[in-house]
């Protein structure tokens, strides 16, 4: 069987007979395909490179044009204006091709990235002015997602605000790329876009998208962040998350309640973000909620909660943190709990890992001079026996945790020691010297064992609070214990300084040794009572500079007070101050005194030259010795007053002081003004003040301004005011102003004429220059574009072309002129909505080009542009002005004029003014008709 099959199969393997022709044909086909492939590759490649080359070339050309458009200014010279116009014409032609439009868009998008400021703004305007946004709008309608996305991007980058409404529709598009592009566009195009986006989006907002959106709103000009709290209630959790981030970024701390509520959110990310906000805004009220949700949270959230509690928490939260530290199996969380404890209460938890055990240091016993006892540091067993042991397993805590409250009170004591000249605080083993803690009970039995033989020198003889000493009660607050009664413990300097042992409670638990008896030596801090009063033998010394700020004011009443009395009164007054030196006036002394002191005083004053008052120490004598009368008076006034201790004995210095005080005295002679009513001989001549009410004040202010700055142009306004005003004096003022302005207007008629002339000056047409050097075809193209580009300045120019020798140009110019006039009329109609007659209502229908009516030629001359001063209605002015304007247009460009044929006449140069040419125009026509 096998053989058969094998044989059978072998028999089938014989080489089939393939037709050689077929083979050749196949070969030819494959070669042909290969050639086609290579040719197509070559063609495509060439096409691509050719397109790239054309694009590059076109970019160069267009970029020059774009530069011209971007930096064009109305104040540019004629050459630049001419170049600008030609570029404008050229680009209009180019824009007809899609390829050119595409290249132009590419250029603008590229340039947008490279330029900023005003140029960028102009770039955006140019994009819209060239109508390129229409292409982008078309892209939005495409069925291909990448085209839509490109369209949105283009509109966003070129700041097309009008696209906002179209783009917002894509916010909930099923395609994520379009959606994201639409989100960014919505937020970018309008400041309120962020509100719309957050309100409407139903999809996820990725982290990257959030960053991009934040970047957009951060860099948006004039963006006022809304209250993002309103989106905390959104049903889209991504919106809530983004709102939380925005709240945090913009520091909007007005949503604390919502933040606390969001801590309970199921979503861990929202929870974490809410916790971050709580931490940022210091929402302390959130701590209970944080604690309550702690167990349900993920590790990262737990860590965030612990970080927040560390930041906002107080010592009340340490219990919770200890519980977390004990119960939490996750190392990171328990470590964070320990960190939080140490943040709230620094160094309350000390390092326990790999800490070597050290033997207890045997404290040398110091002498105790008073009968004071101290207690040894309680052992951990004692701590466990405390009522607090139920709540806190203190044995696991380091000992320093309990010592800390004492340490807080120590700096003061240490400074006391320093002041007393004791050893430096570093030498004092604080923790061992201070034997008790607020929370540690003093067990009576252990206390006896722990009593140290301490020699206490209690110089201050402070009353020892026996109740506290004997008491084993614990102050639950831990604050009522007063450590001031404790003796100052000073270790001898020669002793070895035991290092402050930061042993943990676990170590201390094992340490069963009692603390060695410690000898505490109190150094007496002697209170040196300062000498309050100098002894009688000593001369009191004062620094005059300390009292020289006080002025000596002596009332002068020569008739009532004698010099002696004056002196006494002065001394009495000074004596009231007690501590002040008595300074008497030399001049008021008796003649004998003066005679006795004259020589000495003069010498002193001489010798005091070059010194200031504060340079001297003055010896004062007692006042009672010098002026018994003053003392008597003082005693009468103040019977219990002691004699002045600081009176000087040295009269020389007093003399000098008096001399100085004399210099300081400023005697002011007041002129007495009688209150009696004086006669007013010219009272009738002084006008009574005029008080305006609000309206009158406003009107008078307005008229003042008008008088100062206004001219005859204010007359209509003044007339209006005159009509409305009821107050006669204001009316009078207005009339005066009208007269004044009318007079000044008549005085300067030349000025008005100059203004009118300026209006009538012929406007320059940029096309005239272009027409000089171009061929007929170009002229025709230019005439085709002149309507879209040109304005009223081109009317004169086209008018001139009506007499061109070339009939084609004449015809084209005539057509262009007709269209341009329509355009200008519409424009003026648009700009001046109050214009009474639109183009359609003009006496001559330009569109129908009917033969001119005989009445039209017989129309009166246009009214000059003068402002009628007599008219009461300012609207009438506008009406007349517009009417005159339209009349000019009607008269000048009626159909008959436009259809006139002029053969081979020379193009008249535009030398006259605009209005002159209008006036002269019918004459020209008549002249030409008559040959």
């Amino acid at each position: 069987m096998l053989k058969k099959i094998t044989y059978y199969h072998l028999a089938n393997i014989t080489a089939p007979k393939i037709d050689t022709e077929l083979l050749w044909n196949l070969s030819i086909v494959f070669v042909g395909l290969a050639i086609v492939y290579f040719i197509s590759v070559f063609v495509v490649r060439n096409k691509i490179s050719a397109t790239a080359s054309i694009t590059k070339q076109r970019k160069r050309e267009l970029s020059a044009m774009i530069s011209e458009f971007l930096f064009y200014d109305d104040s540019d010279d004629v050459t630049e204006k001419s170049s600008y116009i030609s570029s404008k014409l050229e680009i209009r032609e180019l824009l007809k091709t899609p390829f050119n439009r595409k290249v132009l868009v590419e250029i603008l998008l590229d340039l947008r990235k490279d330029v900023s400021g005003d140029t960028q703004t102009r770039l955006f305007e140019l994009y819209q002015n060239l109508g390129l946004e229409k292409d982008a709008f078309e892209k939005l309608q495409s069925w291909r997602w990448e085209v839509i996305s490109k369209g949105i991007l283009e509109l966003t980058q070129m700041q097309v605000e009008s696209a906002y409404g179209f783009i917002t529709k894509f916010i909930n598009h099923k395609n994520s790329t379009i959606r994201k592009q639409a989100e960014i566009a919505t937020v970018t195009l309008k400041p309120e876009g962020i509100n719309y986006f957050l309100d409407t989006t139903r999809y996820k907002i990725s982290e990257w998208q959030q960053l991009k959106l934040l970047d957009v709103i951060r860099n948006q000009k004039g963006f006022v962040p809304p209250k993002f709290r309103v989106w905390l209630t959104s049903k889209n959790k991504h919106v809530v998350l983004f709102a939380l981030r925005l709240i945090k970024y913009y520091n909007q701390n007005d949503a604390n309640a919502s933040l606390i509520e969001l801590v309970k959110h199921k979503n861990q990310q929202i929870k974490e973000e809410a916790i971050a906000c709580i931490k940022e805004f210091y929402v302390v009220e959130a701590i209970p909620v944080l604690k309550s949700v702690f167990n349900k949270c993920a590790t990262d959230t737990k860590i965030a909660i612990l970080g927040t509690i560390a930041e906002l928490g107080s010592t009340d939260d340490i219990e919770f943190l200890r519980m977390v530290e004990e119960n939490e199996s996750n190392f990171s969380v328990s470590s964070k709990a320990l960190t939080a404890i140490n943040t709230i209460s620094p160094e309350s938890v000390m390092p326990t890992k790999d800490i070597e055990k050290t033997e207890s240091y045997k404290e040398p016993v110091t002498e105790v001079t008073s009968t004071r006892t101290t207690k040894e540091i309680p052992q951990t067993e004692e701590v466990e026996a405390t009522p607090f042991s139920d709540h806190i397993k203190v044995e696991e805590l380091p000992m320093e945790n309990h010592v800390e409250p004492i340490l807080e009170t120590m700096p003061l004591r240490a400074s006391d020691i320093l002041e007393a000249g004791a050893n430096t605080p570093e030498n004092i083993p604080m923790e061992e010297a201070i034997p008790t803690t607020p929370k540690v009970p003093l067990n009576g039995a252990d206390e006896d064992q722990a009593i140290l033989s301490i020699e206490v020198i209690d110089a201050l003889t402070l009353p020892y609070p026996k109740k506290k000493e004997a008491s084993t009660e614990i102050d639950p607050e831990g604050k009522s214990l007063d450590y001031d009664f404790l003796p100052i413990v000073v270790a001898p300097t020669t002793d070895i300084n035991p290092p402050i042992k930061n042993t943990s409670m676990s170590d201390s638990k094992k340490n069963k040794e009692k603390l060695h008896r410690m000898e505490v030596q109190f150094e007496e801090v002697a209170f040196t009572k300062p000498q309050e009063e100098p002894s009688e033998t000593e001369t009191p010394r004062f620094d005059i500079s300390q009292i020289d700020f006080l002025p000596l004011v002596v009332e002068e009443d020569a008739t009532a007070i004698t010099p002696q009395m004056e002196n006494n009164a002065l001394k009495k007054e000074i004596n009231e101050f007690g501590f002040l030196p008595i300074v008497t006036d030399n001049e008021s002394e008796t003649a004998d005194d003066i005679a006795a002191q004259a020589n000495e005083g003069a010498q002193k004053i001489e010798s005091l030259e070059g010194y200031t008052l504060s340079d001297f120490e003055v010896n004062f004598e007692h006042v009672e010795n010098l002026t018994p009368f003053l003392n008597e008076t003082a005693k009468q006034t103040f019977p219990e007053a002691e004699p002045d201790p600081i009176a000087t004995e040295n009269e020389d210095v007093m003399t000098w002081l008096l001399a100085l005080n004399e210099l300081r005295e400023i005697e002011v002679d007041y002129e007495v003004i009688s209150p009696a009513k004086e006669e007013k001989p010219f009272a009738d001549l002084i006008p009574e003040p005029v008080y305006y009410d609000a309206h009158e004040a406003y009107m008078m202010g307005l008229l003042d301004d008008l008088e100062e700055m206004g001219d005859h142009r204010e007359i209509p306004l003044l007339r209006e005011l005159l009509a409305e005003e009821s107050e006669s004096f204001i009316k009078h003022r207005i009339r005066g102003l009208i007269d004044q302005f009318s007079y000044t207007k008549n005085l300067n008629p030349t000025k008005a004429k100059e203004e009118d002339r300026a209006v009538q000056l012929p406007s320059f047409s940029i096309f005239a220059d272009l027409f000089k050097n171009i061929d007929q075809e170009s002229k025709l193209v230019l005439l085709g574009e002149i309507v879209s580009v040109g304005d009223e300045k081109e009317i004169d120019f086209l008018d001139g072309l009506l007499e061109d020798p070339d009939p084609k140009i004449r015809k084209k110019a005539q057509h262009a002129l007709k269209l341009l006039i329509e355009k200008v009329s519409k424009k003026s109609e648009f700009e001046k909505p109050a214009a009474p007659k639109p183009v359609a209502e003009l006496p001559i229908d330009l569109s129908s080009l009917e033969p001119i009516a005989p009445t039209a030629t017989a129309k009166s001359k246009p009214k000059p542009h003068t402002v009628p001063t007599t008219t009461e209605n300012p609207e009438l002015l506008d009406f007349e002005f517009e009417l005159a304007d339209t009349e000019v247009l009607d008269k000048k460009y009626d159909e008959k004029t436009l259809n006139i044929e002029v053969n081979g006449s020379e193009v008249v140069s535009d030398e006259g003014s605009f209005f002159d040419s209008i006036i002269e125009f019918p004459k020209k026509i008549i002249g030409k008709l008559h040959g």
């Binding site: 970019k59 160069r60 970029s63 020059a64 774009i66 530069s67 011209e68 971007l70 930096f71 630049e80 250029i107 590229d110 340039l111 990235k113 490279d114 330029v115 900023s116 400021g117 005003d118 140029t119 960028q120």
Partner: protein, 123 residues
């Protein structure tokens, strides 16, 4: 009145064209070169009144250009550097080597014009 000559070294043709136009309009005679080689060749033959150069250029960067001008040509011609934002290190290098001013992309052509005028007024 002779126009001040300005060498614009910028490889981005679009931006260069724009700046070229603005600077010409501002009254300068602008010589534009698109890469470092061309800039070097130009500088060996000419001395512009001011150089405005991009930092990132082919063949010869803006930093090398400053070094070349200051150390090899021993010229104190003012150099304004154009750099993209965030390229702080390059800017610091440029200043260390002797650049006079710095303007970051996106460039405001009007600002550049003011800076150029200011640098020329300092001379």
């Amino acid at each position: 009145m002779n126009k001040k000559t300005l060498l614009l070294a910028e490889d981005d043709e679009l931006l260069a064209s724009l700046l070229n136009f603005r600077l010409k309009k501002g009254g300068y005679e602008v010589n534009h070169r698109t890469n470092g080689k061309m800039v070097k060749e130009y500088l060996l033959e000419n001395t512009p009144d001011i150089i405005v150069s991009d930092i990132m250029m082919p063949y010869f960067s803006g930093i090398e250009l400053i070094s070349f001008v200051r150390h090899e040509l021993k010229s104190q011609v003012p150099i304004i550097i154009i750099s993209s934002a965030g390229n702080e290190e390059n800017v610091l290098n440029a200043f260390e080597l002797g650049a006079n001013d710095f303007i970051s992309k996106p460039v405001s052509p009007s600002e550049l014009l003011v800076r150029v005028a200011r640098e020329l007024n300092k001379i």
